[in-house]
């Protein structure tokens, strides 16, 4: 499967990570499926903490009601609090991915976001994984169209202008419904 990623996915996912650096974050990816390809079109930050079933259900329904036309929920992104371990999905991340794969009746994509230090600079890297809908087994994406240079150029403005401070996830939205989980300012 080939995965390509639009700019706003990088922006929203990374903004979510930067906003909640002391917590694990998780979000939903929507995109378009083609024969052997998935294009990730948008990201909806979900939570900065454990994801519980009732709110996951409501979040999926609200995303379905507000996502761009012609897209479906195709996967999730997750970032674990900075560690020196190689990026991997948390147990709850795996569960959510399985729900997404079963719901879609197709393989689901996971974007793992890693925040680490390289040459004294903070670097955000993205890794793509694929969960097979039949076997529920996680594997690397054979052709991930993740471009580190494109990702960092997308994030430059988000970081420089501190746009990540205004990111809204469903945890925040359910606290205060005036906060827009679509994050139109980052689109």
């Amino acid at each position: 499967m080939k995965v390509s990623v639009e700019e706003r996915v990088y922006k929203k996912a990374a903004a979510h990570v930067l906003r909640y650096t002391t917590e694990d974050v998780i979000g939903v990816l929507v995109g378009r499926r083609g024969p052997g390809t998935v294009t990730l079109v948008d990201a909806y930050p979900l939570a900065h903490g454990p994801v519980m079933a009732p709110l996951l259900e409501i979040a999926f329904e609200l995303i379905d009601a507000n996502k761009p036309e012609g897209t479906t929920i195709v996967g999730l992104y997750e970032a674990v609090v900075k560690t020196n371990r190689s990026p991997t999905l948390t147990p709850s991340g795996v569960k959510v991915l399985e729900v997404i794969a079963d719901r879609a009746g197709a393989d689901a994509i996971a974007l793992l976001i890693d925040q680490n230090t390289a040459n004294d600079e903070e670097v955000i890297t993205f890794h793509a994984r694929q969960l097979s809908q039949k076997e529920h087994r996680l594997s690397e994406v054979p052709e991930s169209g993740l471009s580190p240079a494109f990702a960092m150029s997308s994030l430059e403005k988000v970081i420089r202008e501190r746009q990540y401070r205004s990111i809204v996830d469903f945890d925040a939205h359910f606290e205060d419904v005036s906060l827009d989980f679509r994050n139109p300012t980052l689109s």
Partner: protein, 304 residues
């Protein structure tokens, strides 16, 4: 404000208190020409009200040391301590190191406050072995000091495994069974590891100790829903109704109650109250979305 803060005790009181503190701080900061007294007032206000504005404290204290060094008098080391804390939080570790050196010269290495600052510095600087050694030493000397024990555990959280962290939390609870914060943290760790029934027990302990913490009721309801079964759904409904009676504007509880009542309806084991509650949730949610001018989010959403 994080989720836990939102539901601590009486919501409206907590929120209005936070807002009034923020307004007071805003007034202090907005003064154009700030003298040494103004800078000290800002630092003391932040410290005494347990607020977190490390960059502001850093700016004010550096300005004090640079422009008004003789004005601090007996407050010199107090402000230096705040400077070190703010520098560590803002990742200006060279400033923190110099501050700690100065405090060590004055008070000695064995001073507890200096040792705590040094431990925090080593942690932030990635010197894990030094930080661990200091945390162990402080923890052994001060078994009754909860802050020191919790700091050691927080350090363990990033270094060790989840199992070690859970063991540490349980050990802390053996001597401090009434500490709400530790039970909340334990509940969160169990949730992250999908141990639903242990998480449930932890949050139940929280409401035994702090019955006014509505956040815990909502969490328990979410866990019960996740566990499934009709009995759990009805129990979840009770917890959520309790939370909503005490704070009608908890939209998270309203959404969760909507999900619970809908699940009960779909299970075919509904009772008279359920349809009433389902309609109440729909009405209230639509009302709050309209009040917040975000009703467009529900345009294509069906409550059925």
């Amino acid at each position: 404000m994080c989720i836990r803060d939102r539901y601590m005790g009486s919501d409206s009181t907590a929120i209005s208190l936070m807002e009034s503190k923020a307004k007071t701080l805003q007034k202090l900061v907005s003064k154009k020409e700030k003298g040494s007294q103004d800078l000290k007032s800002i630092i003391h206000f932040i410290k005494n009200n347990n607020l977190r504005y490390p960059e502001l404290v850093l700016d004010c204290s550096l300005q004090l040391f640079a422009e008004y060094p003789s004005s601090m008098g007996h407050e010199y080391h107090i402000i230096l301590e705040e400077l070190v804390n703010a520098a560590i939080e803002s990742d200006f570790l060279d400033i923190a190191k110099r501050g700690i050196k100065s405090l060590t010269v004055k008070f000695g290495r064995d001073n507890i406050k200096v040792a705590k600052l040094a431990a925090n510095y080593f942690e932030s600087n990635g010197e894990e072995n030094e930080a661990s050694r200091l945390h162990d030493k402080l923890s052994a000397l001060n078994k009754l000091d909860l802050k020191i024990q919790k700091r050691k555990l927080a350090f363990m959280k990033t270094r060790g495994t989840a199992q070690e962290y859970i063991e540490g939390l349980n050990n802390l609870l053996k001597d401090n069974m009434n500490d709400t914060e530790t039970w909340l943290e334990l509940g969160l760790v169990y949730l992250n590891n999908l141990s639903w029934s242990r998480a449930l027990y932890s949050y139940e302990q929280v409401i035994l100790i702090t019955p006014s913490l509505l956040y815990a009721y909502v969490r328990i309801a979410e866990i019960l829903y996740t566990l499934g079964s009709s009995e759990n759904l009805y129990q979840a409904r009770n917890y959520l109704c309790y939370a909503i009676i005490h704070d009608q504007e908890i939209t998270r509880a309203l959404w969760t109650l909507f999900a619970v009542c809908r699940a009960i309806e779909r299970s075919g084991r509904s009772d008279n109250k359920n349809s009433y509650l389902l309609q109440l949730c729909q009405k209230r949610l639509k009302l709050y979305y309209e009040k917040s001018k975000s009703s467009t989010l529900l345009d294509n959403y069906s409550f059925d």
